[in-house]
Amino acid sequence: MNEKTEKLIDKKGIRLDGRKADELRPVKLQVGVLSNADGSAYIEHGKNKILAAAFGPREVHPKHLMQADRMVLKVRYHMAPFSVQERKSPAPSRREVELSKVIKESIEPALFLELYPRTGVDVYVEVLQADGGTRCAAITAAALAVADAGVPMRDLVVGCAAGKVEDTVVLDLYDAEDKLGAADVPVAYMPSLNAITLLQMDGILEPAEFEKAVNMAMEGCKKIYELQKEALKTKYMVVKEVEE
């Protein structure tokens, strides 16, 4: 590896951005941020800034995708050209196609698909700024947008990653740690149901480190889950004040 690279974790276990190993980046969530979408959410997760909009349940487009016995969830994860250091072409990359698929599959277990035959819910995720862990933050925001659209859910879905940087298992990797670290384990989790709906990994981990990383990511998810619920409630508290 590059000799000029700074140590990602110092002797006291403090990471380059000042966090401890099991510390999350600051997370800010907002619900109902768009006027035309049926549901919407905005997340700032560290330097990640991501907007999610949900439409539906509505007619399925194109029509041949319609299912007679259940709802169809479609998700598009897309990065803005200015969201990363080098301009990203706005055309969907293979990475974005894969992420759209895994994000969809991470939200689906939360929905009662069979109760809404012949309908579709579309979720559009726009990454406005990326700094590592966008798929997880996108899931957190997408689930909130679907909930905001009033679609019944078994639980909210939360995304959070853990990984290995130098020899330490750490929570919530940011861009530099993701690129220079040894492994990244993004997880999506439904805390009340204790169900993992997304799990990916790249890098090298011993089985024991893998177990630790998954547990750490789930703990991170539980913390963000509280913020998600708070954000949903906050929207309705504001509405109430206006009415009075």
Binding site: E98, S100, K101, E105, N194, D202, G203, I204, P207
Partner: protein, 263 residues
């Protein structure tokens, strides 16, 4: 799409799995026999065909010349692509790669890349300017289920069979020489996918089982028992306990497979 007959069939699979049995008489964690043929495409620098039950995958490896990525100027380039060819299944249609073939290619790619299987620095000809590019093309010829594991084995078998052209640099010019050397490989990743049907874990699902599967999880592992890539798929979930159980099964099955294949 799902006719009455298939609905009945799917119900039958679920009932069998409940009893710990399967349509093809295997136990829940038994894998199908694997047959590998190598070097069957003479025009490719490497190739392999893998049979796993009814599943048939052909992988061709072409080695070309190209430029390295700016952030890795002295490393060769690996490109993995997958085609779900229409001959393989009535559900595969011609056209540009869909999300399923992109996911298949990217999961196989991750296993090879993260295990550092190919010694990329040995593929460098002139740092920053010229390197060998290894194109791994996965051709799904018959879809009998578990395409990820079969494709990963086929890709590895094809890489083991791959030869790089010899070259020399004379007066700053690249000249190809007679003969070939084997592609420099350092490890052999083995990929094992675990499926979940009604809260039961199974290995090596056939295509019909995949239709009733809630979700799957794929582990790519190395010789030393470390995990180098994971992918969960499907619209169901796993409990944390199931994930750990699946990872243990995957590591066991990978070790079994390594013994069989001598990888």
């Amino acid at each position: 799409m799902s006719s009455l007959v298939t609905k009945v069939r799917l119900r039958q699979i679920e009932q069998l799995i409940e009893k710990g049995k399967r349509l093809d008489d295997r136990g829940l964690l038994d894998t199908r026999e694997i047959k590998i043929e190598q070097g069957i495409i003479e025009k490719a620098e490497g190739s392999a065909r893998v049979f796993m039950g009814k599943t048939q995958i052909l992988v061709g490896v072409k080695v070309g010349l190209g430029e390295p990525f700016p952030d890795t100027p002295n490393e060769g380039v690996l490109t993995v692509n997958a085609e779900l060819v229409p001959v393989a299944s009535p559900s595969f249609e011609p056209g540009p790669p869909d999300e399923n073939s992109i996911e298949l290619a990217r999961v196989v790619d991750r296993g090879i890349r993260e295990s550092k299987c190919i010694d990329n620095e040995k593929l460098c000809i002139e740092p920053g300017k010229k390197v060998f590019v290894v194109f791994v093309d996965i051709y799904v010829l018959d879809h009998g289920g578990n395409l990820i594991d079969a494709s990963a084995i086929a890709a590895m078998a094809a890489l083991l069979n791959t030869k790089m052209p010899n070259y020399e640099i004379k007066d700053g010019e690249l000249k190809m020489k007679q003969g070939y050397t084997p592609l420099p490989l350092r490890s052999h990743p083995v990929t094992v996918t675990i499926g979940k049907i009604n809260n039961k874990l199974i290995t090596d699902p056939i295509a019909e089982e995949e239709q009733v599967m809630d979700s799957r999880i794929t582990f790519a592992t190395k010789e030393d028992g470390t995990i180098c890539a994971i992918q969960k798929g499907g619209s169901g979930y796993f409990t944390p306990q199931q994930i750990l159980e699946a990872s243990k099964i995957a590591l066991d099955k990978a070790a079994e497979l390594r013994k069989k294949l001598d990888w």
